[in-house]
Point group: D2
Chain length 297, copies 4
C-alpha cells in the first residue's frame, strides 16, 4: 500500500527501506533535501492518494507536536496519522483530539529495535481504534519481524496504549541493562575469572539469563574486552523518566527501574553532591579524613 513517512533520521530512513523492500510505496519527507522524496509536507499530502496514511517518525516533544499540528491542517477527513516516535503516551489523546476535529484518525505506535530493525524487523506496540489499526496492518506487517504476528506486534488498547507499552518496555530495558552490567562488574572484579567476555558469551545457550542484551554485551566485550574505550557517562531518553513518573501515579513500586534511572543521572555528574554531603558529614562527626578537591585529581 501507499504510505507517507515524515522524518528520515536514523529510524525513519531504515523504515522506508524496509517498507519498500516489502513492496510498499513510500513517499518520505525530511527537511534535509538529500534524503527527502518531496519538498514539503504539503507536497507529501498531494503526492498521496486519499484516503492517506502518514507515519510520523520525528523526535518526540515539540517536533512531533508541530508535525501533528501541520498535518491536522494539511490532511483531511478519512486520512490516518500514525505516530511512531517516542512520544509520551499522555500526548496521544491531545493529538488524537486535534486530528479528530479535522476528521483524521490517529494511531500511536511504539517501535523497538534500534539500528537492527532494518534487517530483523521492529517490535511494534500499537494503540488506537480497531478499524484504524486494521487499516494500517499491511504497514505493521512489513515493519514487524517475520514469524507469528503476535510475537512481534500487539494492539495494546485504545489511543495511548501503544506508547504506554513502549514506555514500559524501555523502563524494563533500563533495568535489564543494569542487571547485566552489575554482573559484568562482579566478573571483572574477581581474579578467579580469566575473561568476563567468555562468560557472557557462554551464557548464549542453555542458561536462564540468555537474551539479546546478553548477546550484545558479549559482543561489546569482544570488541573492547575491558571497555577501555568507553566512558560510563550515559544519557537517558525521556522514557525511563516517564516510566518512574507513571509508576508513581499508578502506585507501582519500581525499585529496579528507578535504580537504573538514577544510576544514569549519577553517571553524568563530575562529582556527586550527595556524596560530597556524606563526606562532609563524616568529617564533621568523626574527624574522618576527607579527600580534598585538590587531592582528587
Amino acid at each position: 500500500m501507499q504510505v507517507g513517512l515524515v522524518g528520515l533520521g536514523k529510524m525513519g530512513f531504515n523504515m522506508r527501506a524496509r517498507l519498500r523492500d516489502a513492496g510498499h510505496e513510500v513517499i518520505g519527507f525530511d527537511p534535509r533535501p538529500e534524503v527527502s522524496d518531496v519538498a514539503s509536507l504539503e507536497d507529501l499530502a498531494k503526492a498521496l492518494s486519499s484516503p492517506r496514511v502518514v507515519w510520523v517518525m520525528v523526535p518526540s516533544g515539540t517536533v512531533t507536536d508541530q508535525t501533528i499540528v501541520s498535518l491536522a491542517g494539511i490532511l483531511g477527513p478519512g486520512d490516518l496519522v500514525i505516530d511512531g516516535g517516542n512520544s509520551r503516551y499522555t500526548e496521544d489523546q491531545p493529538h488524537a483530539k486535534l486530528l479528530g476535529d479535522n476528521g483524521i484518525a490517529f494511531v500511536d505506535a511504539g517501535v523497538s529495535g534500534g539500528v537492527w530493525g532494518l534487517t530483523e524487523g521492529y517490535g511494534l506496540m500499537v494503540g488506537g481504534a480497531d478499524e484504524d489499526v486494521a487499516r494500517a496492518m499491511p504497514i505493521f506487517d512489513a515493519l514487524r519481524p517475520p514469524g507469528p504476528v503476535e510475537d512481534g506486534f500487539v494492539h495494546v488498547g485504545p489511543v495511548g496504549a501503544g506508547h504506554f507499552a513502549k514506555m514500559v518496555h524501555n523502563g524494563v530495558e533500563y533495568a535489564l541493562m543494569t542487571a547485566y552490567a552489575e554482573g559484568y562488574e562482579m566478573l571483572a572484579a574477581e581474579d578467579l575469572v580469566r575473561d568476563p567476555q567468555a562468560v557472557y558469551q557462554a551464557w548464549s545457550n542453555g542458561t536462564v539469563v540468555r537474551s539479546w542484551l546478553q548477546q550484545l554485551l558479549a559482543k561489546a566485550l569482544r570488541e573492547d574486552p575491558d571497555l577501555a574505550q568507553i566512558s560510563g557517562y550515559t544519557e537517558d531518553s525521556g522514557e525511563g523518566r516517564w516510566t518512574v513518573e507513571e509508576a508513581i501515579r499508578l502506585r507501582v513500586p519500581v525499585p529496579s527501574i528507578a535504580a537504573a534511572l538514577f544510576a544514569r543521572f549519577l553517571s553524568r555528574q563530575e562529582d556527586s553532591p550527595t556524596m560530597k554531603a556524606v563526606a562532609a558529614l563524616r568529617n564533621q562527626f568523626g574527624g574522618h579524613a576527607v579527600k580534598r578537591v585538590s587531592e582528587s585529581g
Copy 2:
C-alpha cells in the same frame, strides 16, 4: 565415556538421561533405590574403571561436603571429581584440597538450565586445571546445548571460578526477573492496557528486551492471565545472598541485585517490621491514622 553420577534428583536424573542419549555410560547413585543404579557410593566406585570420573549433583552445603569427604576415602589417585551442584565457590578450594591430598583431581561446574536442560542442554561454567577440564570435556559436550562450544560452555578459570560465575549468573537472573516483573505490574495497573500477556508475547521478536525469561513470563501469563493462582511468596536459593555478600567483599555496587534479593525476603513476611515501625513513627509525629492489626485482615 564412562561417568559416575551421584545424586539423581530433579537435575541429576535428567542429566543421566541426556548423557546416555549422547552415548555415554552413566552409572548413577542415589539413596533412593528406585532411581539408583548401584546400592552405595562404594559400589559406584567399584563399577567404574580407573581412572574414574564422578560427577556430584547433590544439594550444596552439608550434603555436598559429606559426599566429597566420602569420595575422598573411596576414590583414589588419578580419579576426578566434578561438583556440578550449587556449592558456594569458597567451598571449592577446601574440597579440592581434601581430594588432592588423596591424589584425586577436582573440577567445579556451575550448571544452568533447570528443567529445560534435558532437551535444550545445560549452560556450563567450569573451574579447574586445564588437563582436568580437558579430560571431562566429552561429558561437558554432551550436557551443553548444541552449537558452538563457546556459546554454552566456558572454562572460567582455576578451581572455584565455575561456581563463582554461576553465582553471578544467578544474581543477574534475580535482577532480570524483578525487572520483567516490575514491567508486568505496570502494564497490569494501567487501564489502557487490555492484556499484559499480549504485550509480553509481542516482545518476543524485534525488541530490545527479548529473552528467554520474557518468553517464560509470556507463557506464565498465558496459562494464568492474572497470576491469580500464584502467591508472591518467593524463596531464594543461597546464590542470590552470596552474590551480594561477594559484591560487598569486592566493593562492587549491586543495587539491582540487592533490591531483587530484598524483595524476596519481604515477600515471605506476613507483615513488614520495617513498615510497622514506619507506621508507628507516622502515628507518633503526625497523629496520622494507622491501620490497627484488627482492621488489617
Copy 3:
C-alpha cells in the same frame, strides 16, 4: 497583629491556639460551625481590617484551589494570602498570579511539626517577596519554635520556594523513617538483642543517630514493644511522590527517598504483582515449588 485563618482542622486548630497565646488576634473560619469564629469567608473578610492577612490551612489540591479562587474575589488590593498547607510548589505561581491580578500578595509557607507544633512550635519554610514575608513576620515568629529565628524559620526564596523546601523536607523524612525502621527490624530479628526499645532509647544521647525521630521510635516501642498493635500498611502524602518526580526533573538521583516511597506503595498491596510474576518465572524455568494462593493464608 490581626490574622484570618481559613481551615481549623488538626493543624489549623492548633495554630489558632498558638497564635492567640502569643497575643495575636485570630479570626478563624471553618465550614464546621462548632469550631469556626465566623459563618463564611465573606464574613471573615469583613471582620478583618485592611490591609488584611489571611492564612490558608486547608487540604492541598482542589480545596486549596477553591479557597484561593474565593479569596481572590473577596479580598482586595493590599491584602496578603499565605498558603500554609501542603500544596505542591508548582501550584504556587498560578495562585500568586490569580491573586496578584487582584492586587493581592501571596506567600507560600511549608509548615512542619504535626501535632507537636502547638507546644513546641512549627518549623517554617517560606517563599515570597521580601516585603510580603516581612509583613507576616509577627505571625511566623509566633508559630515558629522559640530560639534563634534562623533555627526554625527560613525565607527560602521567591514564591514556591517555601513549598519546595517543605516537599524536600518530607522526602528526607520518608527516607529517615525507613532508615530507623530497618535498624529496628534488624535488632528485633537478632536473638542476642533482649529489647530493641532499650537500644533505641539509649541512642538518645551521645550517638551519631540521635534525633527526634529516634526518640519517637523509642517512645512508640515503649508503648507497644513488638508493634503488635500496628499494621505495616502505610499511606503516603503527595509530598513523597512529588519529591521523586521533582528529583527526576532535576536529574538528581534519590535512591533512598524513592526506596522509602516504594516501600509504602508495597505496604498497601495484599500481594505484590511483581513478586507474583517473579514466583511465576521461577516456577516456569526451575520447576520450583510455588506457593499456591490456596496455601498462602
Copy 4:
C-alpha cells in the same frame, strides 16, 4: 575506680581524658611513647591492682585479636577485659572464650560519638554477663553522656550484643546520612532555593527531620556553602558492610542501608564498570553516541 586503657588514638586519647575528669585512675598504654603512661602491656598489668579492668580501644581485626591474645597471657583469673573498639560482633564470642579459658571475663562495648564524645559523652551499647557489666558500670557512667542512664547506655544482651547494636547503629547512620545528603542535592539543584544551608539550619527546631546529623550538615554548609572543598570520595568502615551481611543472614530487607553502602563504593570509582557496560549496550543496540574515554576528561 582504676582502669587500664589500651590504645590512645583518636578515641582512646579522649576517653582517657574524660575518665580522668570524672575522677577515675586511668593507666594508658599505646605503642607511641609520647602518649603512653607505661612502656608495655606487661607494665600496664603490673601497674593495675587485682582484680584488673582493662579497656581495649584499638583498631578492629588483627590488632584487636593480637591485643586480646596478649592480654589472655598477661592478665589472670578475676580480671575483666572490655573491647570498646569496632570489632565485628562475631569476634566477641571467640575472644570471650579465649579469655575465659584463663579465668578472665569479657564485655563488648559499642561506642558512638566520635570526636564529640570527649565533651558530650559517648553513647554506649554493651554486651556481657550481668555481673561483668555491673562491675564496669562506674567506667560506663563516666563515659556516657550526663542525664538518665537509659538515654545513653544500654546493656543489650550477652557477649556480642553490644557490638551487634553498634553495627546496626552505624548501618542506620549510613542511611540517615544519605537521606540528608539527597535532600541537600535537591535543594542545591533548584534555582528557587537561595541557600540550602539556611534551609538545613532552619530544620533545627520544630521539624520532623531535626537531628544531630541535620545540625552537622547545616554546620558543614556554613563552613563551605557549596562543599567546593570536599570530594565525594567516601570511605566505609567495616560496619556498614557487616550490617548488610548480617541483614542477609537474618533475611531482613535493608534497601536503604544497602543503597547507602553501595553509594560509598561507587564514590571511590574513577568510572563505574557497571555504567561503562550500560553505555556499551546502548551503543550496541541503538547506535547511540557514547562518550569515548578521550572525551570524558
